[in-house]
Amino acid sequence: MGRSARLPGFGLTMGVTVTWLSLIVLIPLAGLFAKSATIGIGQIYATLSDERVLSAFRVSFGAALVAALINAILGPIVAWTLVRYEFPGKRIVDGLVDVPFALPTAVAGITLTTLYAQNGWFGQILTPLGIEVAYTWKGIVAALVFIGLPFVVRTVQPVLEEIPSEVEEAAASMGATRLQTIRRVILPALYPAILTGFTLAFARAVGEYGSVVFIAGNMPLKTEILPLVIITKLEQYQYGEATAVASAMLLVSFAFLLLGNVMQGRLRRRKS
């Protein structure tokens, strides 16, 4: 589709957009990278090789990975139920999926912590069984599963809606059982969407702060997450160290996103 130069407003909108983008996004981000450039390699290495920072990297990325995996397994089941079955209250259930997206993270944080604390509704059941969730890494995962829930469901749902029923009918007429059809025909068609949802949920979980900071317990070397390390360093006016951690975190996150895109490309190619 050809875009025309006949419409007015190119100069005006270009001016507004570039100014706004520069003020709000470009200059602040450039400030971050400029700051990390002024810190010597030695100091960056010293900051990042600190045991406490390394542990926070493991906690943040590890918990995000586990939570995104849980969502990658349960999310498609929720999407399947919402697309394929009719049941009373379906629209409400559909709306519930969006709640983690709309609910402020701090609300999620204090609520989940209260629920999973020893005398909370979930804690009362789990603690006698010897399962401690609040103030452990399990609590971090619980919060991140909540936060990541909409991503996988909402990326899989439209793809599932688009799969033509002829495909399934063909598989069935060739003698496939329903389970075989789902496993061999439907699921492979969903893989790229599941992967996209997984990557989005993972990326969101790595940087998540509000919902995690209450339930994590924030024990150095055990349940301290990366965003909290950044905040702690800022509060001690160690701007350089905070910047080094933040830049490293951004780089690793972008690397994961890139990896996701590469895998996505592979899946697509195999399919076609």
Partner: protein, 275 residues
């Protein structure tokens, strides 16, 4: 639709039962129980205590700050988002893809880093900090920084919603209007805006929810000064850390209501757009 589907694509009863139970159990435990518990905790000491927490001057000040941040961020981002969407969808130019991916950046950055970038710019040891200090201007730990951080985190919402919509609509209608002699503004108000109003509203609602609920970015730049730079989410945190659970959940219940309204409006708009 489902009645028309042939027997071959119908799921066996046990599969349906399993999928339904997993969905209900998962959403029930992860979403419904937490929402219910917000209100149970908020009203645990009766309506009197709830009202007292809500009408406390610190809570009202936090409410004001939250409304102010949203009232600045949402319209600003909407106006600039409209300009950006017009630019990106009506014209083809070099660096267009780069511009589009830049708009998305605030989504892929941790909220804490969103706050950090402003501390690095305007903080006491930041790039502009010392200069501003000479002029007697403070930004970090003032309402200005809260507005800035809120604008940053809500930056992409409106544009993101509008770009696919305006892309699909193409340029013919606008071209026809201008050829018939309508001015640029007239074309925008009479032709473009009516056709994107629901998408625009959708973006506004989502960015408002994020603006009112933002925690990490605002937490870094606010300094948590009661009655001055506290937003509702930050106030809930302070009360919670002081073991005032009724107060914390009373504040949380307000935010939960905003979230509920957001979800309902979002679903209503999605149906409208699909039609």
């Amino acid at each position: 639709m489902s009645q028309l589907r042939s027997k071959a694509t119908r799921d066996p009863w046990w599969l349906k039962a399993t999928a339904l139970s997993i969905t209900f159990l998962f959403l029930g435990l992860v979403v419904v129980v937490p929402i219910v518990s917000v209100f149970v905790n908020a009203f645990a000491k009766g309506f009197g205590a709830y009202w007292e927490a809500i009408s406390h001057p610190d809570t009202l000040a936090a409410l004001k700050m939250t409304l102010l941040a949203a009232a600045c961020a949402v319209p600003l981002n909407a106006a600039c988002g409209l300009a950006a969407a017009w630019l990106v969808t009506k014209f083809r130019f070099r660096g267009r893809d780069f511009l589009v991916s830049l708009i998305d950046v605030p989504f892929s950055v941790s909220p804490v880093i969103s706050g950090l970038v402003f501390v690095l710019l305007f903080g006491a040891q930041g790039w502009f900090g010392p200069t501003l200090q000479e002029w007697g201007i403070r930004i970090i730990f003032t309402p200005v920084s809260i507005v800035l951080a809120t604008v940053f985190v809500t930056f992409p919402f409106v544009t993101r919603e509008l770009i696919p919509m305006m892309e699909e609509q193409g340029v013919q209608a606008e071209e026809a209007a201008t050829m018939l002699g309508a001015s640029g503004w007239n074309t925008f108000w009479r032709v473009t805006l009516p056709s994107i109003k629901w998408g625009l509203l959708y973006g506004l609602i989502l960015s408002n929810a994020r603006a009112m609920g933002e925690f990490g970015a605002v937490s870094v730049v606010s300094g948590h000064i009661r009655g001055e730079t506290n937003t509702l989410p930050l106030h809930a945190e302070i009360l919670y850390n002081e073991y005032d659970f009724t107060g914390a959940f009373a504040v949380a219940s307000l935010l939960t209501l905003v979230a509920g309204a957001t979800v309902v409006l979002k679903m209503w708009l999605e149906r409208k757009v699909r039609k």
